[in-house]
Symmetry: none
Subunit: 217 residues, 4 copies
DNA sequence: GATGAATGAGCATTCATTCAT
DNA sequence: GATGAATGAATGCTCATTCAT
């Protein structure tokens, strides 16, 4: 019997080597599959088939499909945060952090396309057994998935206002606009693999710089 | 036997009054349901149940589920275009059209929340039998769904550059950023019904005005 | 879409002829199967197979397995009550009703063996989704399944005491002893088809007559 | 490799202390679980979980689930016989043995409720791989499980007739009625924990005394 | 002694779809 | 126009069992 605990934190949390390897393999195959056929068509059976294991193996390692989905999302968020948080921390000004946020996010998207497509699909398609989307469920669970919280750019806009770098602006709204504009790269990339995501990132840096910085008289 | 033709164009295209009414009723119920439980859980059976008709009635009026989905999306796009296109046409400058595009789009989202939630869900979740998303399928079908095309803001940015109103900018990228930033309102609204979508619209007007207009020296 | 309502009362309650026929056929096959392999092995698939229909047909007519089980049990109880209640009503004395209860019950068991075996198996094996046995669930449902209540012999023992026919006795305990002693015929019959259930009934009449009637000094 | 032999006789038959302890622990947990969720829901996995061991440990100690079930039933029967047989042997008359049989059986039921519930559930629900109930399988196996045989009250009724204590009566039928009436206490107790099983036993003593003893003219 | 890993068969249930009426 | 009936494929999940370590 395996497939309990659930958490995505704590490097492997007591799992054996074999288990960690299998879990990683299954998560990887699931991401690829979601990518190719969409989350709606990514059944446990097809995931198992793609991983070359029996369907029951998947459910041996993940208590149910929801756990698998959470593992996928957790994995990707952690990977993303690992890239983005240091990049942001390296900057001191709000404008610097903002640009670092955008650039590191788009670099991640560009180099982790399957993961990015998968997470966008899962976030809109997947519902927990209680009918909630994953982010809604997460916010109801007290443990607000530190990674998700830290990846919300609202803090940057608030900082910029406190320091006077930015014009007076509604930080939460700019955060929403920025986050979804970034998602636009994922959307576009999944339709056009030749889309230049990094250039798009630079354009977003320009847009949000122009849109947020204090106007010189 | 009914349920052929399929197209969403032409006011009811030869359909009887009863038929048009039934189709509208079913489409309406489907939108409500997608809204409540997500597209993944919106089966033909549940849609029929909600409409108070037999499951087979739904498939009498729509050849298959894909046709129903196309009807839903077509319906909403037409409704949206009916509001947005005149608003844009009433403006002469690119900046005016841009503001009108954003404001009319957010007004539509704000007053047609179920439709907006549904379309966002369908666009990411639904795949045709060949495995394509609806917009991908539409662009492959030569008939590129006039409405969809007209609602792409890329033309506005191109216009603004031709007239010199806007700074030199990559129009397609700004179009992506704008479209997805607008979608951000739908996302947020579906999590927080008290979100002020119109104020968000005004902020987007500000952001994209700052971000696109020619800088005065 | 079928398979709603649920109740076993009201002769066919609005169902079409075809539906009533299919339901009856499926219930019949289920009884036979429970009889042969035990309730634990009586899966929906095997029931359908035995009925010569697709598995989904069973679940088209019964919302889920629990509904099917309830239909089976309800059916048998109604049939049993139809035989037993008039037999008891025809007697005036408590002793007469008691003998009629036992004889009609054993006559029913003897002539409806598969049904009797099935109901005994279901009553001990089956649990509702909440983990309750069927009789426990029924008593929690306010609607205490009139048939079940009327088939409880406790009233007879109470009557006999009020009329003075019977010795002072704890009616509920005698009712339990009687009901389970009658079940003994089902148990025995399922092991030895040659067991003389009617003679056993006569012996039970003797036992419970001797055990309950007022002792002459 | 362990888990062969199978028999429930012989005090632990060559097993080590650890092994006997583990088997006893698993059997105990299985009884508790059957008690709580019913035999149908008592999977090997859940039994192992409750015992705090790996699923494979259960199947290391018992060749398969059937062996575990046999061990459970054997255990309980032995325990029951240990109480009941001496109680009966202490009496000389058939009436005395009869009363002792009933009283000791109900005392056992009252003080070993989980065991009693479990055995009733298993006896009706469980089928061997050949589709037989456990008692049917036992009688086909020549080795008729001494305990089971000795716990059949038919001998008492036969004795009572030979000695003239009892009226002419069909001993096997009274045995069936008595055994199942006793089971009635288990049934009732599992629905109502406050049921007075010992008083019920006294009532059964009365009933079967009245029902079997030779009538004085 | 004990267990982690794997597996295939089976489970109840849901699905979009077909078709005769 | 509408529907009841039926269906096969697929869904997520549980099961007892095997086996190498």
């Amino acid at each position: 019997m395996r497939s309990s605990e659930g958490g995505s934190s704590g490097a492997g949390g007591g799992r054996t080597f074999t288990e960690r390897a299998r879990r990683a393999q299954i998560v990887g195959c699931a991401i690829e599959l979601v990518n190719e056929v969409g989350f709606g068509q990514a059944s446990v059976a097809r995931i198992a088939q793609r991983a070359g294991v029996a369907k029951s193996v998947v459910l041996y390692h993940f208590a149910n499909k929801e756990e698998l989905v959470r593992a996928i999302v957790g994995d990707i968020f952690v990977t993303g945060a690992t890239v983005m948080l240091p990049a942001m921390a390296a900057e001191e000004t709000a404008a610097g952090k903002l640009a670092a946020y955008i650039r590191s996010n788009l670099a991640f998207i560009n180099s982790h396309r399957p993961e990015s497509f998968a997470i966008l699909d899962i976030m809109t398609s997947f519902r927990t057994q209680e009918g909630l989307r994953l982010d809604e469920a997460a916010s109801r669970e007290a443990r607000p998935t530190a990674e998700m919280a830290n990846l919300d750019p609202v803090g940057i806009f608030e900082l910029g206002q406190r320091t006077g770098e930015f014009r007076p602006l509604p930080a939460p709204m700019l955060a929403i606009a920025l986050r979804t504009a970034i998602d636009g790269a994922v959307w576009q990339l999944s339709r056009d693999p030749d889309f230049d995501a990094l250039a798009y990132g630079e354009e977003l840096v320009t847009i949000f710089d122009l849109a947020s910085r204090r106007q010189e008289p």
